[in-house]
């Protein structure tokens, strides 16, 4: 049984279709990156999975429970960080987590231990007694995250978990997600594409309410026309080198990008690094620098989401 099963999920707001017949499943051990332009339907989908928003049609099942029929069962199994990490401003994180623990059915030593664990994981120990409204954006986000992790749920739905964090905090949160990924099913939404490469095992791109791509980050990268391209800096005559490279059967195109830099695109994403090296050395052209491009996810993202 999949941890999350979504079939034909649709949500309309008036005549606007925010989410249009989407379906996918998430297994234990997967970290699913949910990508898409603003307004594509990412948050709406997450709100439907977590039972906040009723679907117009379609079904969501979490660990076998239908969110429409057994909302409490579903909510008990999910840890959810809503968009913007809303929190009650007058509460302190300590009291807030105690409240969450109570509602989640934890009490006594068990609750204390879980709170301690979530506080340690999100590193909010220094601000537990302060009112939440006095905290920085980064701390607020991590308090929201601590809330989602508190009951050690099997399913985590995190809407932009690293938004507003500084690079160090981003790294820590990604590390945290990576550490938990083995035993949970995790869905994160983001528009930071490096995050997808860093933590996700799979990425779904949605645009205008529809799934336009569902693949591993590697597969998405492979769709980039710069995937496996070679950037080369040489000492020697640029035109000769260019001619040599263009003659190679695996090469699609050669551009002179800067004064002494060549950018070589392969045919069909083939590995050409070695061919390029061999060709240069055979003609005694000195290579100063050689670099293999992996492609750019944001370029793939742009291509996929603007084509529609």
């Amino acid at each position: 049984m999949s941890m999350i099963e979504i079939e034909n999920l649709t949500r309309r707001f008036g005549s606007f279709v925010a989410v249009n017949h989407i379906g996918f499943t998430v297994e234990r051990g997967e970290v699913l990156g949910f990508l898409g332009p603003n307004g594509a339907g990412k948050s709406t989908t997450m709100k439907m999975i977590t039972g906040f928003l009723a679907p117009s049609s379609g079904t969501v099942r979490v660990e076998g429970f239908d969110v429409q029929r057994d909302p409490i069962e579903v909510k008990a199994r999910i840890g959810y960080l809503p968009e913007g990490a809303p929190l009650w401003p007058d509460m302190s994180p300590g009291r807030f987590l105690e409240f969450i623990a109570g509602v989640r059915g934890l009490s006594g030593a068990d609750a204390t231990a879980r709170i301690k664990d979530a506080v340690a994981k999100t590193q909010i120990g220094s601000v537990l007694a302060q009112p939440i409204e006095t905290l920085s954006k980064g701390f607020k986000r991590r308090v929201g995250l601590a809330q989602a992790l508190l009951h050690d749920p099997d399913v985590l739905i995190l809407d932009e978990p690293t938004d507003g964090l500084d690079p160090n905090q981003k790294h820590e949160v990604r590390q945290l997600i990576a550490d938990m990924s083995g035993e949970k099913a995790i869905v994160i939404s983001t528009h930071i594409l490096e995050e997808v490469e860093a933590v996700c095992t799979r990425a779904i791109i949605i645009a205008k309410g529809k799934i336009v791509a569902d693949a591993t980050p590697g597969e998405l990268l492979a769709q980039s026309d710069q995937h496996n391209a070679v950037s080369l800096q040489i000492s020697g005559d640029m035109d000769i080198a260019r001619g040599l490279l263009q003659a190679l059967p695996v090469v699609a195109s050669v551009e002179i990008s800067h004064r002494n830099r060549l950018f070589i695109r392969p045919k069909g994403g083939a590995q050409i690094l070695n061919d390029v090296g061999v060709a240069m050395r055979a003609h005694d052209i000195q290579i100063d620098e050689i670099h293999l491009a992996r492609g750019h996810l944001d370029q793939v993202f742009r291509t996929i989401t603007t084509v529609q």
Binding site: K47, T50, G51, F52, L53, I72, K75, A76, I78, Y80, P82, E83, G84, P86, L87, W88, P89, D90, M91, R95, F99, I100, G102, V103, R104, G105, P131, Q147
Partner: protein
């Protein structure tokens, strides 16, 4: 029901986490005190009862209860915390009742702090404490009724000012439908049964009964059914509007 209690506790803590609760209680007591003394002739009436004090309760509630109820749902919707609340393993009924109970407990605390009036009349004379107790019970029922209306109105808007003004207006209608001036307007032409119906909708009519020391079953049923109707409407409103 432990879940409801968690909600009650969180809400109550929220009231007292900011100066709001203290400002409210101080204004509530000052207003009731000055009205009873200056307009109600609390002392010069020369009677050992709290009628001079209780007669202003409907009007003070009309002004102050909306200030408690306005944020109950409007603020949760505006700040987005409603999403947090509604994705916890709580039922909507538990949340609605929990939030409502917290507001009633807060009103009860404010009301209980008027005990110096009770001490004063007992010090100066020998009042019928049964009637006074009935007055307090009636007053609490009235506050609870207004809070149910206010909670419902608060769920209809994200704007606390709108919630406040609308609730005040609704409270006014609920009070005034029993006032002589309104009933006088109808009495010239409307059939008696209709006038009785309008009067029976009023908080004033039912509160006056209870405050006389007559704890009539019908008055209690009136307040309880009004509360039930508005809390049910509250649930429907939250369910429909939470995500907008």
């Amino acid at each position: 029901m432990t879940n409801t209690l968690f909600v009650v506790r969180r809400e109550l803590a929220d009231y007292f986490a900011t100066p709001v609760a203290y400002v409210f209680i101080v204004i509530f007591l000052t207003l009731l005190g000055s009205l009873a003394f200056f307009m109600g002739n609390f002392f010069s009436r020369g009677q050992a009862d709290l009628a001079a004090f209780f007669q202003f309760h409907p009007w003070v509630y009309m002004l102050l209860i909306p200030a408690i109820s306005m944020r109950m749902w409007a603020e949760e919707r505006k700040s987005g915390t409603i999403e947090l609340l509604m994705t916890l393993p709580l039922s909507l009924t538990q949340v609605v009742i929990g939030k409502y109970l917290a507001s009633v407990i807060f009103a009860a605390i404010s009301l209980a702090l008027t005990f110096p009036f009770w001490i004063t009349v007992n010090f100066l004379g020998s009042p019928d404490n049964g009637i006074i107790l009935a007055g307090y019970v009636g007053s609490l029922f009235m506050a609870a009724g207004f809070l149910a209306v206010g909670s419902f109105v608060s769920a209809l808007t994200k704007n606390q000012v709108i919630a406040f003004v609308t609730t005040t207006a609704a409270c006014f209608v609920l009070i005034a439908s029993g006032a002589p001036i309104v009933l006088g307007f109808f009495s010239g032409w409307a059939p008696k049964i209709m006038i009785d119906f309008i009067a029976s909708l009023s908080f004033l009519t039912h509160f006056a009964d209870i405050a006389k020391g007559v704890l009539d079953f019908r008055d209690i049923v009136y307040f309880l059914s009004l509360i039930a109707v508005f809390l049910f409407a509250n649930t429907v409103a939250v369910n429909r509007l939470k995500a907008e």
